[in-house]
Symmetry: C5
Subunit: 307 residues, 5 copies
């Protein structure tokens, strides 16, 4: 995720980092060269004039924009749903931490409470590692007692197995006076929500937008762009390559952004900053139990990219 | 469902599997031949020139794109709601499995718990079989005791009857110390959610998008495509068939995708991978109770189709 | 609701039943004749040439399509919300039936349980009759004891009064051991949901899309269609009537579908199949208590219309 | 809110009442006269020909339609959310009335129950009066005991203060056998929902769509309409005023409808029928406790406007 | 937030305050001067005629409008979700205040209740200060006892730490007769909702719309506007600068509004009136406990801006 201070409208033209322009340059270069060639040949192929006019591009540009718009909305919805799920994770772990103190009657500094908080933090990191296919063992060893850390490392669905530990902790809290089955069920309700969050993230990560859409839109966008110079050369002349690349840039870039946002849990520049969010959850949970905060989230600097 | 690794933008033009192109080839072939004929006749019918210009196609192409866009969104929403329901099924069965351990006070390896888990897994497979109109008896015999398997096989709404079994199991758990009516109601709340999931899937499977839409859009899309060459022949000449087929491909393919996604529980390439999801639910539930995992979900290979 | 097997793309052109075409034929006929007249007069009125070109129709066609698209989405949302409410009714009555067995400790065959189920079924039929303004007395006499049936027949908001009966049944179940205030409140929560369902249906039935929209769109659609031949006659000549009717058909049909879906509880061909849903709820509730199923929902036949 | 029987498609052209046309007539008259003047001057201003062609209007008409479409959707969503909130109010008061009988064990005719029902009805009327800035004192005196009516009349946020009364009533019901803290909390949960309903209505009433949108769209719509005749005069000649007014009517009317729906709690013809809904809630609540219904909601007559 | 009385349609053209026009004037001035230059040079650059026609602008204007429309909807959704969250905050604090009286059995004037209310009010102000990066210490000292105010001032996530205080207050209320673990859990459920509200606000404040969108749309909008005069000069002549600025104003203003609404918790004129909402929450909570209202929210005056 890229955070930037607001910029002057004029300087925003020259932003390089965080734009998709760099990765598109080769394709736009090909498109530019092709357009130049078509202008040079005045739109002929093997001496036959290609009789394209702007008319079919008008007809079709609208359809293309609508279809791209649909794909883009679907991708953005996935990105934003992913963000909402991680927001819910923050809310829910905070609620569980609060309940572990105020419902059980434990004091803030209780050993038990800290153990519970650490499982919650480990849960968060495990979810991140599962979504990014990275190894959770380092974080597990940092946060959990050795034996538990070991058994979780073996598990296939780590966050789910950790939730059994959370459930057992709550079950054991029944020895506290005033913590009865009602309080247990109240905390268990928040575990249900955690289960929904894990499943929601898995759903986004495992089910892409149907592949057929990608194929159809990809083909349509590129064919459209590569036919465009034939349609424009008669009326626009030598300015055709510039206009073609300008229109092409917008369509191709829109498709590329949709592609990047579709899988929001990756590590591309516009993906969600799961690392920063894990650190933030750790910070706020530790503050709730009055522990010193481990590290600060780095301050906002211009063009800073969080991962 | 088709899962594929990201591909180079250029190689994506030549994807065959997973595209709807193969099934559309005959129609596009007819359209191509018709266009060639119209070019050959220079847009005349029985010596009368058909005086179509691109203008009405511009007017109409926009309306068509909007209506197609609506149909497509409605279909995609059904696809995605179906996926969400199966995601909720995963979350909910996990929650019930957790509660069967941590609320009842049963140990992980308890016979009772395993019986409960097996009913949950059978529930999942029954829902799949009901949605796909296939026979559930094999899975039922694998997972349930003989007599129960037999009586469920007879039932019309199998998942619902299985839920009575789940409810009875929970009722019987009242003999465990610490599992009172409150815990029972907490688990019963998750059965309510299962009921919503079953009903949600039945709703999508039994209520298509109103038939009138299909008829209207189908007629409009094809009439538009078959009139298009008359409108383009004067300005585009010999390139008319190519452009007609290109525009026709996009509109017709969009309609075909919408048609396929509308019923997401089928077995077409872009439908939901219910089999893979059933296996995954079985795997994660067995891991929760510490049983060895039965089989691995096959790894992602290029162009792999899950059903 | 119309259910049909998938059809060959070519045969779908000739579908008559379930299309809105039949009811639109008179209007389209008027439009056709008018277009023929305009072509014959070469677009003059009282010897003055009407100087319309396609340009304003392009400008305006887009706006029209957008506004129609909005009206259509709003109508479809109402249709689909109506379907969701009836789906929720299915889920909720199933949940109550399950709870009436597994929470109370009654056996499946208990008299009391059957009485409860019958009130639930009567509730469903009453809601249908209220929404369609038909008489509920026959169904009430079939399902309820005479005196109760009589008093409900007198009531203005029958489903709501029946819910008091459901609530009283639950209150009386407090004599069962193990069924305490907690179980009562759990079932009462499902009554709250029933209340939301009834109110949701009443909302859709009593509040149409603001009338001003209908008037504005209706006027715009028809004026557009009747002015269109003047705009097309110069460039399209004798083919004007065909194109006019084709474009007119799409716009007018879209408005007609939106009109039909707006009130989804009626008995027009594309409305919701409330009768079939009532029968289905009756079937599944009776199966839950192990009673023989009363009648089968008729199998899907080509072009079958459920009401 | 305007309720009308379905009308013949042809008679709908001449609907006057409920259309926004009457209030727009002066503006459309100005537009018509201006267009006539421009036709008369053949599009010149001080002898300079204004060289506008339809092209920029095509470019811009699309953008305008999209922006208007956005504003319209946002307004309609507010209207429909307002309706949903009042629907939820109906559902929720019904649920509370049912609980006041079946959870407490009071009989229908109990004094206490009637007092509770009357506070619920007063709550409904107070919300209406707050949203419409009218005086609640008459309704309060009709429904509540003198002293309470007086103290509520003084309050700033009347429905909220009434909810404390509802909460106190529920607290006092604890003396009933079988009505314990669980039943109390179940009814309290419905009070939470009432709180959400009040706040939701206040949100819609106090936060309009950002003012900047109104200014921008208003300026754009009117400038567009007043420039249009210059763009059409060359190609359309003497028919320019008619077409200008036709296009202008659609855009201006769409803006006017959006403006009216944006604040759904007012008393304009298309606003929500809060009076009718209050009466309906009163009727259904009284029926639940078996009281005679006070008055009938007037039957649907053609073109009847509910307020 | 700007609140204004409805204005005459004609006077709305000359609204200055609350429009984004003032901040856009320099850019539109540049655009105007450029257009004048291009008209003067008759669209030539270094004696080469730039052969742009309106055609590519039609193609592209539609795409641009769609993309802008998407960005605008996404921004408006963030604005409206922010408003909903603050509305939920109002509802939830009211509910907690009600419960603190009617569930605990405290009287309205109880010291304890007032302390609880003050923590709720402090919570509200802390959230505002966190979202706006302002200092909460003044409000904390006004509302809380000295020691607590001090410790909260030190905290990083102040509202979350305050919620522990709320939880402790509820835990201590267990000494009241009739306030058992069930009542505690009911109030705790509302604390969960508060947690969701805080996290929801943090989500909107910390995660902007992906930066790539801003860059892409910004570039496209401005390039489009600055190329436009070349495309219009041939057909529109001396009126080109006016039309260019008119079209440019709409596109640029739409982007600017989207930019302003995207972060709804700021202090720009169209942002949410967090100060007014804090005051309103304080007022209504104090009224619930029967305390005199501290200050009136200033009445609506024409063009009044709330912050």
């Amino acid at each position: 995720m890229i955070l930037r201070k607001k910029q002057h409208w004029f300087r925003m033209f020259f932003v390089w980092h965080g734009s998709v322009l760099p990765q598109l340059l080769p394709r736009l270069g090909v498109l530019f060269l092709l357009s130049v060639l078509i202008v040079y040949l005045k739109g002929t192929l093997y001496e036959y004039k290609v009789p394209l006019s702007p008319a079919p591009f008008t007809i079709f540009g609208i359809a293309l924009a609508l279809f791209l718009g649909f794909r883009n909305s679907a991708s953005y919805d996935r990105f934003w749903e992913g963000r909402k799920l991680w927001g819910a994770l923050l809310n829910d772990t905070r609620s569980l931490a609060r309940q572990a103190i105020t419902l059980t009657g434990h004091s803030k500094n209780d050993e038990q409470v800290l153990a519970f908080i650490n499982i919650l933090i480990a849960f968060t990191y495990c979810l991140k590692h599962q979504l990014r296919n990275t190894s959770a063992s380092e974080d597990l060893q940092r946060l959990l007692p050795g034996e538990l850390a070991h058994s979780i490392t073996e598990a296939k669905y780590k966050p789910i197995v950790l939730m059994i530990e959370l459930g057992n902790w709550i079950q054991k809290a029944r020895i506290m006076p005033g913590f009865d089955s009602i309080s247990q069920v109240a905390m268990d309700g928040n575990l249900n929500k955690l289960s929904d969050i894990v499943g929601g993230c898995e759903r986004i990560a495992s089910t892409p937008i149907p592949y057929t859409y990608q194929v159809l839109l990809h083909r349509t966008v590129y064919l459209y762009c590569f036919l465009l110079p034939f349609g424009l050369v008669d009326s626009l002349g030598w300015i055709t390559p510039l206009i073609t690349v300008f229109i092409g840039y917008t369509f191709v870039a829109f498709e590329a952004i949709a592609d990047e946002l579709e899988e929001p849990f990756g590590t591309e520049p516009n993906d969600l900053a799961l690392n920063a969010m894990c650190r933030m959850i750790e910070t706020t949970l530790l503050e709730i139990v009055g522990k010193p905060l481990p590290e600060q989230i780095p301050a906002l600097s211009a063009g800073h990219v969080f991962d």
